[in-house]
């Protein structure tokens, strides 16, 4: 008899848990550094708000030598990555995997792709154009970005949190990580996936609709 309340409590918790997990809609996490700011309200009170890291303003040239910037991705969720066309190692795998996601969302104008080249010496827009055409993705949906070394390397490391560097000991002379980063319509980082792992990239494909659902209200 003494144990009955405990059992009831446990049962209650279990029921609560089940219902909770059923009704609560899944939301993607928010990545990146965060800060707090004090918000002053009209009635004189104030509260503390979390400020999430966002992708800063940028301007690059795309594969058609046309300027692209944040407005190109306005009201879109997009997948960003860093690569170079003559990459002998992980890039072919990343783009083989990412192309499947691209095909899956071909009919969805809210989804875009942005690949930055880290080979600022060789990968000029015209080389990127050839690459895009041969990959079979040369349209507005998948943008290839060419920029000054510092602009690309800074946005990679400070904003998308992807390590990139030149390295004369590495074949092809650049080393970089194969992350695919999912960015929401508010420039926040909502997913980080290993582009060389087809399972991880499948998850990216599933997370995109979840992210888009947040805006359907």
């Amino acid at each position: 008899m003494r144990h009955l309340p405990l059992r009831i409590l446990l049962l209650f918790c279990a029921v609560l848990l089940v219902f909770n997990s059923c009704t609560k809609e899944r939301k993607l996490p928010i990545y990146g550094n965060r800060d707090t700011k004090i918000v002053k309200h009209a009635d004189g009170s104030s509260s503390i708000d979390t400020v999430y890291q966002t992708i800063p303003d940028f301007t690059f040239l795309n594969q058609d030598s046309v300027k692209i910037n944040n407005n190109t991705f306005k009201n879109k969720v997009y997948v960003a990555d860093f690569f170079f066309t003559s990459c002998p190692s992980i890039c072919p795998i990343m783009h083989r995997n990412l192309k499947k996601v691209y095909e899956d969302f071909k009919g969805n104008p809210e989804v875009m792709f942005l690949s930055h080249t880290i080979d600022y010496k060789y990968d000029t827009p015209h080389i990127l154009k050839k690459y895009a055409a041969k990959l079979g993705v040369d349209d507005k949906k998948w943008q290839f970005a060419y920029g000054k070394r510092n602009d690309i390397y800074t946005i990679a490391e400070k904003s998308y949190l992807v390590a990139v560097q030149e390295d004369s000991t590495e074949k092809g002379s650049y080393v970089h990580q194969g992350w695919l980063i999912l960015i929401d319509k508010d420039r926040k980082m909502r997913g980080i996936y290993d582009g060389t792992d087809s399972k991880a990239v499948e998850k990216l494909g599933k997370d995109i609709p979840t992210l888009l659902a947040e805006y359907k209200k």
Partner: protein, 140 residues
């Protein structure tokens, strides 16, 4: 009678010899094939793909049995020194650059060739290290 038995024995010995020779050769080929497959996964799969399907029009597939047969004596050079020319594979044109892999030994290359030419629709049999060494002397 003794003659018959003797000749039957001789015949038997010879067939067994041929048979065991063949299977020793087969065992060697299977070993090359298995090692070649491992090397493929480590050194080629990132570009040419898990099913040797290539990547769109950037990287050619390795499933064109006719190409592999016609260019058999060039495969060693392609693998060791890379390739940078216009080629037609599966009726499609490719012209990107394949990097050299000069650290591969002749035996590695032979194993990769045995794997390539006995999978994905090809069935060309054994290719030994001596053949690779000879091929490499003739690279352009």
């Amino acid at each position: 009678m003794r003659r018959y038995i003797l000749s039957a024995l001789v015949l038997l010995t010879i067939t067994t010899m041929i048979y065991s020779c063949q299977s020793a050769e087969q065992i060697k080929q299977d070993m090359y094939f298995a090692n070649g497959r491992d090397l493929y996964v480590k050194r080629c799969q990132n570009c040419h793909g898990q099913k040797a399907e290539g990547l769109a029009n950037l990287i050619p597939p390795l499933t064109d049995a006719r190409y592999l047969k016609k260019n058999k004596n060039k495969l060693a050079c392609i693998i060791k020194n890379g390739l940078n020319e216009k080629i037609i594979v599966n009726n499609r044109e490719f012209s990107e650059k394949m990097p050299a892999q000069s650290d591969l030994n002749d035996i590695d290359i032979a194993q990769i060739i045995v794997y390539l030419t006995n999978s994905n629709g090809s069935k060309q049999g054994m290719y030994n290290t001596e053949a690779v060494t000879a091929d490499l002397k003739k690279c352009k």
